[in-house]
Subunit: 369 residues, 2 copies
C-alpha cells in the first residue's frame, strides 16, 4: 500500500515542536502514543543519508513520560521489569523490557532514575500508564503516577556532540552513553541524556514544559547552520540496519524479552518482585525457541512491511519478518524478524514470502551497523 | 494544518477489511487503537451526504474488544464504571464511561454482556486492556482478560435495516437499540447489535475471526448494489451534529463523566465497587462546574480543530472547543466543547478563539440531530 493521507484531529496530539516541524516541510507522519511523530522530510533515503552525514533534530515528544514518584516508586519499578534495578543510580538511563504476569512484552521504555523515589519511564507506543495505574490501585502502592508535560527532543547524527555543545556547553561531551546531565536552558534545568533511536550518536533533551519547545528548537537550528542541521525523525532504514526494535512492529504482548533478543537486559533470577518473574524463570535458563535476528533479503527493493511476512526453509515455516527496507549503504534489503532456533544461525539461507512473491534471504547474527 | 501523509508499518495494524477498503478508494485514515481507521473516501462532505441518504459499510475493526471471562467478571466490570450494571442482561449493550480512582475518564466503550461470566468491552482509543490487566493482577481477580480476534464492521445509514436484513434475515429489524442478536453468517454465529457511531441508524456486526472479514464485506456489497451501498467511516460532521463524543478529542483522563454530560449513564450511588465511586459521589450529587455542550460558530468554514480553542465571554475564559466542522445541512460550523456553568445555557453568546481569529458562537443545549 502506498502512503495515504492522515486525517488530523485533537485526538492525534500535536507537540510543542509541531509548528517548527511544519515550517521545516514535514511530508509524512506516523502516530505514536496518540501523538504525531514526523517520519519523513525530504525523502526516507535523503533523510537517511543526511542523518548519517550531518546532524538532525527530531521531534520525539511522542516518547511520553510516565512519572512515578513516592515511597513505593523503586518497588513498583522493579515489579515492571525483569531487569535488575538494584544497582541503578541517579543519572542513569536503563533500557527496560516491561512485561506482564505471563512474561509478555508490554513496552520497551527507557527508565530514567531522577531520585531514589522518582523515575521517568520514557515509553514506546502503548499506554503503559494504564498498566501501572492498575497495578498501583490494585496493590495499594504509595506512589503518584502521571504523564508530565515533558517532551523529548532528539539530536542525532555524527555532528550531534558539536551542536549540543554549542547550546548546552562543552560538558555534554563528557556525558556517557545512557547517562544524563542536568543542564540549564534559558534558566530551566533540563535533563540531557546520551541516547536516541539511532546508532549515529547523539542526545535526547527532555523538554520540561511545552513553552520551552520552540526556543530550544530555534536555538539548535541557529547554532547549527554551518553543521547543516535539519529536521528529521526516526529513520526506518537506519533503525533496521542498527537492529533497533520497534514495539508493535517487531514485538507485541505475544513475545518474551528473550525471544526479542533482550535477554541481556534481563536478570530474571535477581529481579525479585517482577510480576513476570515466575513466567520467565524457565525461559531465562533454557533460552527461547525463536529469537530476533537481522536478515538481508535478496533482489530489488521490497515494499513497506505492513504485516508479518512468513519465512520458510525447505517448505516449512521457520520464522517471520516484521520490518524491512532497502538499504542504499548495504545495497540489499535489510530486515528484522523472528527465527526458529533451527534456522537462526548466521548465514542460514531462507525464503521470505513478500507481497511481491518469494525472495531468498540470509540470516545475520548481529545487526548491520 | 492540511492533511499530511501517513507512513505505514506493521505497528499501525491493518484490519480484516483493509484490502477491500483499499479497493474502495480510501483517501485518508486516522489511527485508532494502533490500527487503521478509514476516515475519507470521496470527500468528507460527499461521504456525509451519502451517509445521510443511503447506506455505508464502515471498517471499525479498530473498536477492539477486551474480553473478560471468569468467575470475577461481573465484579470486575462494575469496578470499571459508575454505571450500575446490576440489571444488565445477556443480549444488552451498555454505553459505559470507565474511570480511574480519581473519577477521570479512561475510555468510553460499549460493554456487551455475552454471559454472566463473559463480557466484551468494545473500546475507544486507549489501551484499556492495560488498566484492566493491572487491576486484575493487583487484586488477584479470577478472570481471563485478552484481546480476541474480533473486528466490528458497521453498517450505517437510513437503508441499513434493508441491507442487513438481506444478509442476516428479516429478524434483524426486530433488534432493539443497544441490543444484539446472534445470527449465522457462512455457518458462524455472529453478534449483530443495533448500534454505531452515527445517528443515521444501523448495526455493528462483530466479525469473530479475521477470515470472515472479506466474505462479509463482499456479501454486503453484493446485496446492496441497488441501495447504493458504499464504503465509509465515522464522519466528523455527522458525529458533531449528533453530539457524539470522541475520547481523546472531547475528553481525556482530566474529565469526569459528569463534565462530559454522561451523568445519565452514571448511577454512582448504587454502582458499589466502582474504583472511582468515592471520587465521583460529590460531583454526582452537586453536579459539575463545566459540562459538554454543542455550539454553532458563526461565519465561514473553520479549519480542522487539532487543539483546544479557548472560549471567552466578556474577556473571561468560559470554556473550550475540542471538535468543529462546517455543516452543509445546518449551514453553520457545528462544534462540541466544554462550557462553564455560568455560560452553558441554551442560546448563550460567546467568542471562540480559532486559529483564524475570534468568532462569535452560540451555545446549544441539545445536539443538532
Amino acid at each position: 500500500m502506498s502512503a495515504p493521507l492522515l486525517s488530523v484531529s485533537r485526538r492525534i496530539r500535536q507537540t510543542p515542536f509541531s509548528n517548527r516541524v511544519t515550517a521545516s516541510g514535514v511530508k509524512a507522519y506516523t502516530v505514536y502514543n496518540h501523538m504525531l511523530l514526523p517520519s519523513m522530510f525530504e525523502s526516507v533515503e535523503a533523510d537517511y543519508r543526511h542523518l548519517k552525514t550531518d546532524v538532525q533534530v527530531w521531534d520525539v515528544a511522542c516518547e511520553r513520560q510516565v512519572e512515578v514518584r513516592g515511597p513505593d516508586a523503586a518497588r513498583l519499578l522493579q515489579m515492571l521489569t525483569p531487569r535488575d534495578l538494584g544497582n541503578m543510580t541517579e543519572g542513569q538511563c536503563y533500557y527496560t523490557p516491561m512485561v506482564d504476569e505471563t512474561g509478555g512484552m508490554l513496552n520497551d521504555p527507557l527508565t530514567i532514575k531522577l531520585a531514589d523515589d522518582r523515575y521517568w519511564i520514557s515509553i514506546a507506543d502503548s499506554d503503559l500508564l494504564y498498566w501501572i495505574k492498575g497495578l498501583v490501585y490494585g496493590l495499594g502502592l504509595v506512589v503518584d503516577v502521571d504523564e508530565p508535560d515533558v517532551s523529548p527532543l532528539a539530536v542525532q547524527g555524527p555532528k550531534a556532540d558539536d551542536l549540543v555543545a554549542r547550546v548546552f556547553g562543552e560538558t555534554v561531551r563528557d556525558i556517557r552513553f545512557f547517562r544524563y546531565a542536568v543542564l540549564p536552558f534559558e534558566g530551566v534545568d533540563l535533563l540531557v541524556a546520551r541516547s536516541g533511536y539511532s546508532k549515529q550518536g547523539g542526545f535526547e533533551i527532555y523538554v520540561d514544559g511545552s513553552e520551552l519547545g520552540e526556543p530550544l528548537w530555534d536555538a539548535l537550528f541557529q547554532a547549527g547552520e554551518d553543521l547543516n542541521v535539519r529536521a528529521g525523525g526516526p529513520n526506518v532504514i537506519e533503525r533496521i540496519e542498527s537492529g533497533l526494535l520497534s514495539y508493535g512492529n517487531d514485538m507485541t504482548r505475544e513475545n518474551t524479552p528473550h525471544e526479542c533478543g533482550l535477554g541481556k537486559f534481563c536478570q530474571t533470577q535477581t529481579a525479585i518482585g517482577c510480576v513476570g518473574r515466575d513466567a520467565l524463570l524457565r525461559v531465562a535458563v533454557e533460552g527461547p525457541v525463536r529469537q530476533m535476528r537481522s536478515l538481508s533479503i535478496d533482489g530489488d527493493r521490497v515494499p513497506p512491511c505492513t504485516e508479518i511476512w512468513p519465512v520458510f526453509a525447505g517448505g516449512k515455516r521457520v520464522g517471520r519478518i516484521t520490518s524491512a527496507a532497502w538499504s542504499p549503504d548495504f545495497e540489499t534489503n535489510v530486515a528484522i524478524g523472528m527465527m526458529r532456533v533451527t534456522h537462526w544461525d548466521d548465514g542460514t539461507r531462507v525464503e521470505v514470502e513478500t507481497p511481491e512473491g518469494m525472495r531468498q534471504a540470509t540470516v545475520k547474527e548481529g545487526s548491520f551497523i
